[in-house]
């Protein structure tokens, strides 16, 4: 080997060794969230960085399970994590997250009282989660496939849509969806066999499972699906931002509602930055911009919702008391339930073979 090349390689080695030692520098806020879910919007990140001097580093998860595993196996790495309120209890009992000093969050006072006081987020008088947005797991349709929007969840089982239905690859959501389809309370499922039978008959209808918004949007863009479960905020985004022929349907049987909240992981190295970031995320200014530019679920901040135009979907439909009656909020589930749901879901997926 000639000399210059050798030198180059040695230099590279040296550079790399220093690269290893220079891992995380100061004033970074590491955020763990769904991809394309507000916190990683470039305009929001830039504005936040400019205002606070913190640098935002985003990382994403694919399922609540993966989110939990990521904080378990990367202690000290994340400063902010977005947790579905139904999972907050589990994260807290595993000591993965720490109490939040809400006095450092000026916008916390504007969070609607029923959300801020939720027993799912507060334990022993301490706040472990700051409510951010709430929304529905309802149905969304490909407008090209329907003359007029369906009203019933039964549409998913219609043979006309065979092979053109999509649902999320998530055990809890699938089982709770099955509960709604069989007329049960999602947080107190009495008849699991009915749910299993119902879901088993759904499997042949299904094209694929989605795990990210992008999956859904691509399937619609390439006209491969007619109908499927979707999140309300995502459906809004698909329509507003990506101009896709998607519209949300809240079936007469009801829908699963969820509340997403921000927490601070136990080992966070930048709690101040984390507080600033969370406050930024629940600020009405950010919210309005998010809704108009991209599309979003409903904010937990009452002032933020009021800042929307009167006829906005998130104000008119989601705020409709008629709708409120039909939806069921997800409550925490026990480990035993989760394992039972997971086993059922895996079995359903294997039976496809």
């Amino acid at each position: 080997m000639r000399m210059p090349r050798l030198t180059a390689l040695l230099t590279a080695t040296a550079v790399l060794t220093t690269a290893f030692t220079l891992a995380a520098s100061a004033a970074e806020v590491h955020v763990l969230n769904w991809k394309g879910y507000g916190a990683d919007e470039p305009w929001a990140v830039q504005a936040f960085e400019k205002a606070t001097g913190n640098k935002v580093v985003n990382d994403f998860f694919n399922s609540e399970q993966e989110m939990l595993t990521k904080i378990r196996t990367n202690p000290g790495l994340y400063d902010v994590v977005m947790i579905n309120a139904a999972f907050n209890d589990q994260a807290m009992s595993e000591k993965l997250i720490q109490p939040i000093d809400t006095s450092k969050l000026p916008n916390y006072a504007d969070i609607s009282k029923d959300k801020a006081g939720s027993p799912m987020l507060d334990h022993d008088g301490k706040v472990y989660g700051v409510p951010w947005v709430w929304g529905l797991t309802a149905l969304a349709i490909n407008e090209k496939s329907f003359d007029k929007p369906p009203t019933s969840i039964a549409e998913m089982w219609d043979p006309a849509h065979k092979g053109r239905v999509i649902i999320r690859d998530d055990a809890v959501e699938a089982v709770q969806f099955g509960a709604i389809a069989t007329g049960q309370n999602i947080n107190d499922i009495k008849d699991m066999d009915a749910v299993k039978t119902k879901l088993t008959s759904l499997m042949p209808q299904i094209k694929t499972f989605w795990s990210s918004e992008n999956d859904w949007n691509q399937m619609v863009a390439s006209n491969q699906i007619d109908i499927g479960t979707y999140w309300s905020g995502s459906a809004d985004r698909a329509k507003t931002h990506f101009k896709l022929p998607v519209s949300l349907v809240i079936p007469k049987e009801g829908a699963v509602a969820w509340l997403d909240a921000f927490s601070i992981p136990a080992g966070s190295k930048n709690v101040e930055g984390a507080q600033a970031f969370i406050n930024w995320m629940i600020d009405p200014k950010f919210y309005v911009e998010w809704v108009t530019k991209v599309g979003a679920p409903v904010s937990a901040n009452t002032k933020a919702v009021e800042a929307l135009p009167e006829d906005a979907f998130n104000r008119k439909v989601m705020g409709d008391p008629e709708v409120a009656k039909r939806i069921q909020f997800q409550a925490p589930i026990t480990d035993a339930q989760r394992e039972a749901y997971l086993a059922l879901w895996q079995q359903l997926k294997v039976d496809v073979k």
């Binding site: 790399l16 891992a23 763990l32 994403f60 990367n74 790495l77 390439s222």
Partner: protein, 262 residues
């Protein structure tokens, strides 16, 4: 000769089909990196926007550098350790040598899913943890056996009389190694190094289990992007990788006969 000519024509046609099968998806992926629609919708509209936005994707760029650095360091370590081990296995007779040679196969033969998860458990358990250093540890272990096998194969063609001749001319063991043996096995060493680089640079499974956010490699980043919503940026970066790696392969193929001999 009719039948022979027909068979030859059929053979060429068949190879043509195979090449189409092998290259069609790659070409289409490359084309889509120049298409406007983020959902790969047709009709095709030309743009270089995805390449432009690639420039500003710090995460992807950082992961690319990580991949390159790890591949280079893996190559250097593997070549040094591997050549030394090959020389020892060639030069000396001792009990247990067969076993040592047999031990080279598990890293090659065991599915990466198993090695990867085993490394995750062990590194996590003993406190090495995950991240770039763990990935480097893993990559070297995966590539080392290839280097030893390739260099050993080259050593088989080496005539031991050459070393003896050098000794008879007054060279000591070190001089013999540096001036006679190493130059002879150089093609093997370079081929082994290329192998190590390729194994490391393309390695996804093991990296996937050992990566942490911020300390990832390009394939891991691509997988995350594919699963969590990808954009044609991924096509753009894939196209660049494919073009560069194929160009490198063609270059090396010009310089060395395939397999590193001659």
């Amino acid at each position: 000769m009719m039948t022979t000519r027909i068979l030859e024509g059929l053979g060429r046609f068949y190879i043509g089909l195979l090449l189409a099968f092998l290259y069609l998806p790659i070409i289409i992926m490359a084309l889509m990196s120049f298409n406007v629609s983020p959902f790969y919708q047709l009709p095709f509209e030309w743009t270089t926007e995805w390449y432009a936005s690639l420039w500003h994707n710090d995460q992807l760029i950082a992961a690319t550098w990580n991949s390159l650095e790890i591949a280079i360091v893996t190559t250097i370590i593997c070549v040094v350790l591997g050549s030394a081990a090959s020389l020892a296995l060639y030069r000396y007779e001792f009990r247990g040598k067969k076993l040592l040679q047999a031990l080279l196969f598990p890293p090659i033969a065991i599915p990466w899913l198993i090695t990867g998860t085993a490394m995750l458990i062990f590194f996590f358990g003993v406190g090495i943890g995950r991240g770039l250093f763990a990935i480097l540890l893993g990559h070297v272990a995966l590539a080392l056996p290839y280097v030893i096998v390739v260099v050993s194969a080259r050593l088989q063609t080496f005539a031991p009389e050459l070393e003896e001749a050098a000794r008879s001319l007054g060279a000591n063991q070190w001089q013999v190694t540096m001036r006679v043996t190493l130059p002879w096995i150089m093609p093997g060493v370079i081929a082994g190094g290329l192998f190590a680089f390729a194994v490391s640079f393309d390695q996804f499974v093991v990296s996937y289990f050992l990566a942490t956010p911020g300390q990832t490699t390009l394939p891991v980043e691509i997988y995350a992007a594919i699963r969590k919503g990808f954009t044609p940026e991924i096509n753009a970066v894939s196209t660049i990788i494919i073009v560069v790696s194929m160009a490198l392969m063609l270059l090396t193929a010009r310089f060395f006969k395939f397999g590193g001999e001659k």
